[in-house]
Symmetry: C2
Subunit: 338 residues, 2 copies
């Protein structure tokens, strides 16, 4: 296992064969970074009391490294955020790796270190995992699928079905940073240094929001499909309409500029460290203040409101005073952005 | 979504884009089969009291369909079994799909139906999932990563570190059926009709074993790397030696014949519906009887014993009276067998 010692080698099929080579890869790379797992095929945890939230997310991003993160931090934060959006405190994650033969072990080590760091930052443990290796040309470097558990305290019940006419629609910050950072890296654009992914764990921000606005109806992180997808999902599931104001949607100037160059609409671009919350009107001010008081929510804004609409339309009042439909994304705008 | 209605189409990048096409794929294929999930990004469950077991497993098998199962049943049973081997009753699974552009939707529907059927048979729910699509040539049809939670009742504590000298080593049935069934299919051999994967959920069998032999030290399902890997893992982690008797290891005659043709050793070939248990000697008879009374354990056998050995060797008394080392698998014997 000289190649693992030096991390100068590459992933080979034997690393996924269930023998000594796999055991050593797991011990020297994964267990060393995550501080647990490895010997048992399952982790056994004593969870705090409460209902258990369960979520999973797969990551097939290209390129694997981008300004503000990499597939490792993304894989941790993505599942942490899916759990947190259910009102749960994330506790533990699993990590499943599908490696392509020939992938550099040094890159894998960098990704695994990034996962460990993201897990520490989010306050979760990576307790168990799995590694498979596919032949060259049957994968693309590394795919990671994380799953996780969290605990929902008390009787909290957030749901994409919970929005009611009159509710405020709040975003926790600027839209489109992650997707544009990845696309810019992929295209080799110069502005990539200005645009950085917002990849971050949202459990702290979500907890602050729920403490200030316990009547919150729904939280969701606008990843694939962007803000437009989340608003349509809420409108569809809740049987309501939503109207947002274009001028109220925060977009970083560099992201806006990049979107114009790339022909993208920030409303449809993925975020990895932002949340959308639907909050009853009487708690909107408290929710906004709580978000803005948190380092990840300084640009939070009320962007619109829920209204009765049997057609379940999402509409936007444009900067010019008109109104246009905000439909779901059509086709594939940004492949493999997360 | 005409192609989804008829299931005559193929997976396209738009099915992973986070928009309407993805929502419809999820609703019509996954939610329709699993009966839940789809709208929320996480599932919230009220688990029975006890510690929570958490496990994950990725599946990259080729071919996707084989005698006795497919990647779908494998993905459910694999994680169910990892949870059950920890002494937990599996409750809920997550399912993450990584689809290759161009993969036939009809095949995906068949796989998803197989997952739903396997989950019903195992008594678990598939509560949430994720779908990603990669470009043609960047994947291989479909990869599935499942994760799951189960509940460990009482103070039960099984561990790969638990084996002690004098303990009996028991297998629940014939070795090598799964790996040989897959390899035979891959090779296009005629005997494939005789050799059928043992792919099955072991939670019922494991519960029966633990009820009869509550002192059981360790359970493990011998998948990748086969029986040899599991015995070496136990010996290594427990700091003991293990001696098995070749004549006592059950191997189906057709599997033995296929192994001879293919140049394989059944001790190193993957199983997907068998368990290895280390049981204190005074409970071995009860354990064996309980396994044999279960439909999945009719061929159960005591194959050897744990002994003190600072070298942690696994050895086998051969049919000819000699003794040979049973080392870990070296290199890659059977790529993508699970």
């Amino acid at each position: 296992m000289k190649d693992l010692d030096s991390l100068a080698g590459v992933v080979e099929l034997r690393h996924g064969a269930g023998g000594r080579d796999m055991a050593e890869l797991i011990a020297r790379l994964f267990v060393a970074a995550f501080g647990e797992g490895g010997e048992e095929d399952q982790a056994v945890l004593a969870l705090p009391p409460g209902r258990v939230a369960l979520s999973t997310d797969g990551f097939v991003i290209a390129p694997l490294f981008f300004p503000g993160g990499d597939i490792g931090s993304l894989a941790v934060n993505g599942t942490v955020n899916d759990i947190a959006m259910g009102g749960a405190e994330p506790v533990a994650l699993t990590a499943g790796f599908i490696l392509e033969e020939g992938f550099p072990l040094a890159d894998l080590a960098r990704i695994v270190a990034s996962m460990a760091q993201a897990a520490r930052a989010a306050g979760v443990r990576i307790v168990t995992g799995d590694t498979k290796v596919v032949e060259r040309g049957k994968g693309d470097g590394v795919f990671i699928t994380t799953a996780g558990v969290g605990v929902v305290a008390g009787s909290l019940s957030l749901s994409v079905r919970g929005a009611r006419p009159g509710d405020a629609v709040i975003v926790s910050g600027t839209m489109g940073d992650h997707g544009v950072a990845v696309m810019a890296t992929r295209a080799g654009f110069d502005f990539e240094t200005e645009v950085v992914s917002d990849c971050a764990a949202l459990n702290g921000l979500a907890a602050a929001l729920l403490a200030a606005a316990p009547g919150t109806r729904s939280m969701r992180d606008p990843t694939r499909g962007g803000l437009a997808a989340v608003l349509n999902e809420i409108a569809q599931a809740s049987g309501v309409g939503i109207v947002i104001r274009e001028a109220a949607v925060p977009v970083h100037p560099a992201v806006r500029g990049a979107c114009e160059l790339l022909g993208l609409d920030p409303l449809y671009v993925a975020n990895e460290g932002k949340l959308v919350a639907v909050v009853p009107p009487e708690q909107a001010a408290a929710a906004l203040a709580a978000l803005r008081a948190h380092p990840l929510g300084q640009d939070a804004a009320v962007i619109g409101a829920v209204r009765a609409d049997p057609d379940r339309f999402v509409e936007m009042e444009t900067a010019f005073g008109g109104r246009r439909m905000v439909d779901w994304i059509a086709g594939e705008q940004l492949p493999r952005i997360c």
